[in-house]
């Protein structure tokens, strides 16, 4: 990678911006997990924290790392978390539907 | 220095809490959990003694190796203890209760 010092600095700042963008997703995931009334809505909050929050943080760190090996490893981690969280969230939601847990409605 | 102190005190507190729970609760699964927490406290003290902050040079690898072995051993011991606890409950508990009930009924009718 033939990168001058200026482009490296721009990439670093963009990475910081992405990490700052990813932090509120985690915090809102926790707040949603505590405040939401129902198991399905809590699942919704959880998946946002899993996918988008970690995706933003991985993207920012990959922009800052400056080496292809680290970037590949970060992407691998993100894909693994994505697969694991979607599989387990789907299992939980399907089991809850099979157990006849009613979704929450505004009543 | 303060990190070593903090983590050592945490390990001590964890050991004390685990020992307390091991004494006062009777459910076997909770006893196994308490033993696990106790072992974690001991590992924490051992690693905390080996810690040095970055500029002071490298850390001592011998406690790390011991703790690594200890973690593996504690997991296998936990698996064995869980199997034994399940086995004890399956084989003894129900039949023992039934036998006690059946043994008590003729005694009372005899009176």
């Amino acid at each position: 990678m033939a990168a001058t010092k200026e482009t490296m600095e721009i990439l670093y700042n963009c990475g910081t911006l992405f990490i700052i963008l990813g932090l509120p997703f985690f915090l809102s995931g926790t707040v949603g997990l505590i405040r939401f009334p129902d198991i399905y809505t809590r699942l919704h909050a959880l998946t946002k924290a899993d996918n988008v929050g970690l995706g933003c943080i991985v993207c920012g760190l990959a922009l800052q790392s400056g080496s292809w090996a680290v970037t590949a490893k970060l992407l691998l981690i993100w894909l693994l978390v994505l697969v694991a969280s979607s599989a387990s969230c789907h299992l939980i939601a399907r089991s809850a539907m099979q157990k006849n847990i009613e979704p929450w409605t505004r009543s | 220095m303060i990190t070593t102190l903090l983590y050592s005190m945490t390990g001590l507190l964890l050991f004390a809490m685990g020992l307390f729970t091991l004494f006062i609760h009777s459910h076997p699964l909770r006893k196994i959990l308490a033993v696990n927490v106790m072992s974690t406290g001991v590992f924490l003290i051992m690693v905390a003694t080996a810690y040095k902050p970055m500029p002071l040079g490298n850390i001592d690898p011998v406690p790390h190796a011991m703790v690594l072995t200890g973690i593996v051993v504690s997991v296998s011991v936990t698996a064995l203890a869980l199997l034994l606890a399940c086995r004890v409950q399956e084989t003894s508990n129900l039949d023992l209760l039934e036998r006690k009930k059946q043994a008590r009924i003729p005694e009372e009718s005899r009176r």
Binding site: - | T3, L33, T40, L44, V47, A50, K52, L82
Partner: protein
């Protein structure tokens, strides 16, 4: 600068760990205690990382957080099932009974 931030990190981590351990050792519900134990193993891995022991953290992440939790969950289910007076479905005795019942029906 970075050492004071890391010390603050230590303090929050230690307080969370102690609270978690106290809750897990004193709850009525055993399943809640098992879930708290899984979370406790995760925080322990963070503590090993903080004490510059990444090898121990790797072992703890693989064994403590990944293997012990499912072990406890399986054992909990097996115990709950036998406590309610039901035999294990996969024990030989029960399988023979089911087999006989099926033969009588069929």
């Amino acid at each position: 600068m970075i050492y004071s931030i890391l010390t603050l990190f230590d303090i929050i981590l230690i307080l969370t760990m102690l609270w978690l351990a106290w809750c897990l050792l004193n709850t009525e519900d055993i399943f809640k205690a098992v879930v708290l134990f899984i979370s406790f193993g995760l925080l322990m891995a963070l503590a090993w990382v903080r004490m510059r022991a990444p090898d121990v953290a790797l072992a703890e992440a693989a064994l403590g957080a990944g293997l012990t939790g499912p072990l406890f969950l399986s054992a909990l289910r097996r115990m709950n099932r036998t406590r309610k007076g039901e035999r294990r479905l996969d024990s030989d005795e029960n399988r023979e009974k089911e087999h006989k019942a099926n033969q009588e029906q069929g």
